[in-house]
Amino acid sequence: MNRAVILALVLVVGGPWLAPYDPMEQNLLAVLLAPTWDHWLGTDHLGRDVLSRVLAGAPRSLGLALGCVGTAVALGCTLGLMAATGGRWLGALIMRGADLVLAFPGLLLALLLAGFLGGGVGPMLFGLTLTLWPQYARMTQAVARRALAEPPVEAARLAGFTTLAILSSLVLPVVLRALLPLATLGVGQAILSISALGFLGLGLRPPEPEWGAMINDLLPVLTEAPVQMAAPCLAILTAVLGLTLAGRTLLARQQHSL
């Protein structure tokens, strides 16, 4: 599991660095080349090296997904803790807000934002974060409530610790441990959402080598460039699969320890 996460991080950070060519550099005289020693995965419809693009796509697809989930966890965690410790009204307000967002189909919401704000990294991050935070807020609120009722918290409160101190030292670790599997699975789902937006032509702007957009670009030439088409598909599959398996392992370990 740990190895999978480390490998993912290496790819996100080092992917572009590992790329043998500039992922944006075109050669219109060498389009749709079959794989050779020079181009292990061939070239795309603009003569760009597919291997380089798949590698450079890692920080865009995987990294952006990590960023979205990270922001969503931070936001969800904060709001969830506020809901758990704040007053009745605040709690109700936050939770109804979460329900509201969950009611709206997530992909549509992201589409709305990403599509209309220009499809850059910022709008995408904003849109996906907005759709993802409620589940973490709900989970945080539930776990935090349980943790707050436990004896150590009671003891700390009697000993005169502030709410903030109790939250950060006693509650937050429990919450984060509970959120980790969910978040790991969430990154996988975020990759799928980003690729779906890319496929619909509403994702990152060209020539960004995002995996979903690469699939969309190569689809018309599927029969001529099967390897080039398979590469980003497999990249998505491996990334999401790895994250799903990692999430499941974490979940199983947690249930085991309970």
Binding site: L100, L108, S195, A196, L200, G212, L222, L237, T244
Partner: protein, 324 residues
């Protein structure tokens, strides 16, 4: 009594939810950058004929030059009279358009959803009754793999195989049952990938529960014991999950309806969003908010029917059983 109370509370919640959602959408569409009238004009006359003059005419016709609050008030007043207005692009009544598109989506959605349980139930049950067996292991691997694929890839793969290579089924379109098979299957596979593990886990947990052991002590065979006592209990989490999936179905439609050229709600809403067709966006968000609440009402009702113990609890809490 219990039923009445449940339905009344939930329906009130549903209406409130729908109104808040539509109001948010209204604000959101107004806040988006870009001129509404130009967008609408582009959708109507096409980009080649788009001129600022046409946009100005549409702005005046549709009342988009009025203050935002006046527009919102007008919409609320229309709504109170049961009037949803006309699409700014097609000029057709929104209700008629909604009915048309919702019909297509509902048929396809129910078909895909039912198909997913036709696939997931037997596999999940088998896997849950024989955990660690070959069915369990293969289905688990398949489910994880499927869940890791973007739905559009599943769709493309199915089209490539059944429509382009074997030519058994049409690759896109609507109107006949043959046209519905591939999109429904795409939807079903995506849903089943998540449903199989849920069913399996529910079955495994119930099998380990004390009443099954008790029944076995009573002398019933394992399968009989499960059938008599376990099935109903295993059904509760499955029903809750199945109903929740209905909202994910709407998501899946955005991609599936585009890929299969299916005139459903997802395609309709995306088109309306791109054209900034305000009356359509508002009506669609009303409907989605209401649908979501309705689905959770049905879930609660089903769970209530399945588990008599929850009836007392739901009355005490004054809200749905499954709402936590």
């Amino acid at each position: 009594m219990v039923w009445l109370q449940l339905v009344a509370t939930r329906l009130t919640q549903a209406v409130a939810m729908a109104l808040v959602l539509a109001t948010l959408c209204f604000g959101f569409v107004q806040a988006l950058p870009g001129d509404l009238a130009t967008r609408i004009a582009a959708a109507r006359v096409g980009e080649d004929r788009l001129t600022p003059e046409i946009a100005t005419r549409i702005r005046a016709q549709a009342g988009l030059d009025q203050p935002v609050l006046v527009q919102y008030g007008g919409w609320l007043a229309d709504l109170a009279r049961g009037e949803l207005g006309r699409s700014l692009v097609t000029g057709e009544p929104v209700v008629a358009e909604f009915r048309y598109h919702a019909g297509h989506t509902l048929v396809l959605g129910l078909l895909g959803w039912a198909l997913s349980y036709l696939i997931a139930l037997p596999i999940g049950l088998w896997a849950g009754l024989r955990p660690g067996g070959w069915v369990d292991r293969i289905s688990d691997a398949a489910a994880v793999l499927l869940a890791s694929l973007p739905p559009f890839l599943t769709g493309i793969a199915l089209i490539s195989l059944f429509a382009l290579t074997l030519t058994w089924l049409p690759p896109a379109g609507f109107g006949t049952w043959a046209h519905r098979v591939l999109p429904a299957l795409t939807l079903a596979l995506g849903l089943a990938a998540f449903a199989v593990p849920v069913i399996r886990t529910a079955v495994v947990e119930v099998r380990g529960a004390f009443y099954i052991t008790y029944a076995q002590i009573k002398g019933l065979g394992e399968t009989t014991a499960f059938r008599h006592h376990g099935l109903r209990n295993a059904a509760i989490p499955i029903v809750t999950y199945a109903a929740l999936q209905m909202t994910f179905v709407i998501d899946g439609f955005v991609v599936i309806e585009t890929l299969f050229n299916h005139p459903g709600l997802g395609a309709w809403l995306v088109k309306a969003l791109l054209a900034r067709d305000v009356p359509v966006i508002l009506a669609a968000s009303l409907a989605i908010g209401f649908l979501f609440s309705l689905v959770s009402l049905i879930t609660d009702a089903l769970c209530l029917a399945l588990d008599p113990r929850a009836r007392a609890a739901s009355v005490r809490l004054g809200r749905g059983w499954s709402a936590r």
